[in-house]
Structure formats: C-alpha cells, structure tokens
Subunit: 216 residues, 2 copies
C-alpha cells in the first residue's frame, strides 16, 4: 500500500508502470470486462499501438499488471528479535491482520478474479504467477516467523508447511472466497482485528508450547 522507497523496475520503464497503474485502476473498478485495450489506452493517455509494442498482446498486458502489482506489495521482513511468548503472539497477530488486509484489498481481489477467470484456458500462467508472487512471498514471512518461534522453543511442529497451512486456514477460512464472490469486503473489514486474535489464539493452542493460554 505504501512504499516507493527505492526505484524498482526490473521489468518496465516508469512510463509503462504508469500505464500499468491506470490499467489496474481500470480493472479494479470495472472488472475484467472493462479492461479493454482501447480503455486502457484512453485512461493512460497512450496509444494502443504503444500498448502492443510494449506488452505484445492483451495477455502480455495482464501478466505485466500482475508482475507490477506484485513488485509493489513486497512484504517487509520483520526481523524477529528475541522472541517471547508475548512477542511471538504479537507478531503472529500482526501477520494475520496484514494478511487479511492484503487479501481484502481491491487490487488484490480484482487480480485474483482476473486470474481465476483465465484459469480455465490452458496456457494461462496468471494463476501460478499470482500464487508464486503472492502467497509464496507472504508465506516466506510467516515461515520465518514460525521457524523463529520453534527455535525459541515456543512452537512445536514437524512440518513447517503444514503448520503454515493450518495458520492460514485459521486466519482466512473461506473469507477470501466470499470476498471474491462479491460479499461486501468493507463491511467485514472491521472484524479483522478480532478475527486475527481468534485465529492466532487457536493456532497457539494447537502448536504452542506454553500451557497457559488466554481463556475467556
């Protein structure tokens, strides 16, 4: 959401990034159907010919949009200091809230809808791109957190991926899908804090080594 600290264009020029921004905005508040080449060109004040020169074809544009957005939301590494039970919980709750807010973001929702829509066609790499750049990134942060918790003797698990899968499920459940299906995400955004607390509490009850947990 924030950050434009260092210039990061491994792929495209600033001008092209601006075009991708316009395209993303168009996608967000119009859906895929609104994302026409002519529409993008008009919204970005560029010519269709340039679009095709830069991105090849429409699918190339879509891929570029995903790559661009992924490069923007690079998750910050929270370097775990000395972990206690409380700080671990704190970090986990923070992670959970961040995750929920990312998933509920309109750009994220729009891109996921787009990729899902393309998933039926064969060659579509969009799904795996989102998967790779999105979840894998977030998963790395969570994985590091879990690993640190285990090293500090606060968590107990054999398979880190399995533990992360559990954590993810506890946090998100089917909320993401419901939002993708159109359920008003703003209305439920208020509960993210509570939901994050709940999920982390449950996760710690499952994987935590402290016996004392918070109970009502």
């Amino acid at each position: 959401m924030q950050l434009a600290a260092h210039p990061h264009q491994p792929d495209y020029s600033p001008r092209q990034n601006a075009v991708l921004d316009s395209a993303l905005r168009l996608l967000v508040d119009g859906g895929e159907k609104a994302l026409t080449t002519a529409g993008v060109a008009r919204a970005a004040n560029c010519s269709k010919e340039s679009l095709y020169k830069w991105f090849g074809d429409r699918d190339g544009l879509l891929s570029a949009m995903i790559g661009y957005q992924a490069s923007k939301v690079r998750t910050f590494e929270d370097n775990a200091e000395a972990l206690t039970a409380d700080t671990l919980r704190e970090h986990l709750v923070l992670f959970a809230r961040d995750l929920l807010e990312v998933l509920a973001g309109d750009v994220s929702l729009a891109l996921n809808r787009l990729a899902i829509g393309q998933a039926s066609r064969e060659g579509s790499k969009l799904g795996s791109m989102l998967q790779e750049r999105g979840r894998r990134q977030v998963g790395k942060r969570a994985g590091a957190l879990l690993e640190a918790g285990r090293n500090a003797g606060l968590l107990a698990f054999d398979d880190r991926d399995e533990a992360y899968d559990t954590l993810y499920g506890l946090i998100v459940s089917d909320l993401h899908l419901r939002m993708l299906l159109g359920e008003d995400s703003g209305r439920m955004a208020k509960d993210f804090g509570r939901r994050a607390e709940r999920a982390v509490s449950a996760f710690l009850r499952l994987y935590g080594r402290e016996k004392g947990s918070v109970e009502p």
Copy 2:
C-alpha cells in the same frame, strides 16, 4: 454426484434440464469464454430462440445453471444417532472428505470461476446464489453435526458459526482458491483423506471435551 431417485424439477422441464446439462459440460471443459449461446444451442441440439424463450437472456441461463447444479448436489442429511467421541470424529472426517471432494469437483470449480468472474458487475446475484445454495447447505449439515456433538457433551463452543468457520478453515485452508487458480486438483485429490484427518484432529483438539486425543 449420484442420485436421481425422485424427480425433482421445481424449476424446469426435463428437456430444459438436459439443455442445462449440456451447458454445464460446455462450461466445465471450456471455461466461460466457451459458453456462448450459439455453442450451447449446438451442443444441446436446440435453437437459440428456445434458449431465450426459456431463460430470458444469457444471465438467466447462468442463473439457471447454478440453480440446477445446486439442486443436483443436495447434501444428504446424516441423521446422527447416539454420538460417541469416535462416531463424532468419524462423522466429522466423513464431512471433511465430502466437502473437499465437492469443492474439487470440476463442475463446482467451473461454476465458482464463473460466479467470481461475474462478481465485479453490479447486479450479479450469482455469487450470493452460489454462497446461499452451496455453503449454506453444507453448513447446515456441519452445523447439525456440531450441535449434536455439543449436546452429547463432546464439543464445547459458544458460537456455532464461529466453530464452523474454524472447522472449514482447518479443512480447506487455501486449497479451494489454489484449485480455482488452476492448480491441478487431481494431483492433490489423493491427500484428501489425510487432510481430512488432520483437520478434524486439530478441530477436536480445539473444541473437543475429551482430554485424550490421538497423538503421534
């Protein structure tokens, strides 16, 4: 998947149901883009004019497809007999496996993709239809199961919906979304059994009243 026991067409004639079947098949192995009115008419050996007479317009056809499919997968009520810790666990595992298999079904995936694709447009009721007919149905079965478990003194929870949300998250996590994004669902179908066991074990550790649980 099975069952054609009693004739159940609250909505459409057999002929029309056959057309909807063709449309579903078309959707499954071609995606939304392949689902053209001409294509449906050709596949079902009917005329476009009849399609429009029966279903109004393309959106009507989509709605009818969802309603028709929902009427087919009506979940059976497993009337819970006297519950013990073991039978409860058994029922939960069975539920979890059924849930995973339904979600992994190609018709389910195709319809979810369709509804998600339409979710951006305003008037689209498809998302809520799927939500209502799909999850709510399944949720009723799970809810009854959870309630029975609580009444038998085997489960402890205050909010049934919250407990169900947790159960759902433990079972599914982001698997559904990954499949919607195109990850090969057949490859992971083999793990459904193990996954169901894991999820139910975790759920019982969270909400079960028996202190003795299975441990490795």
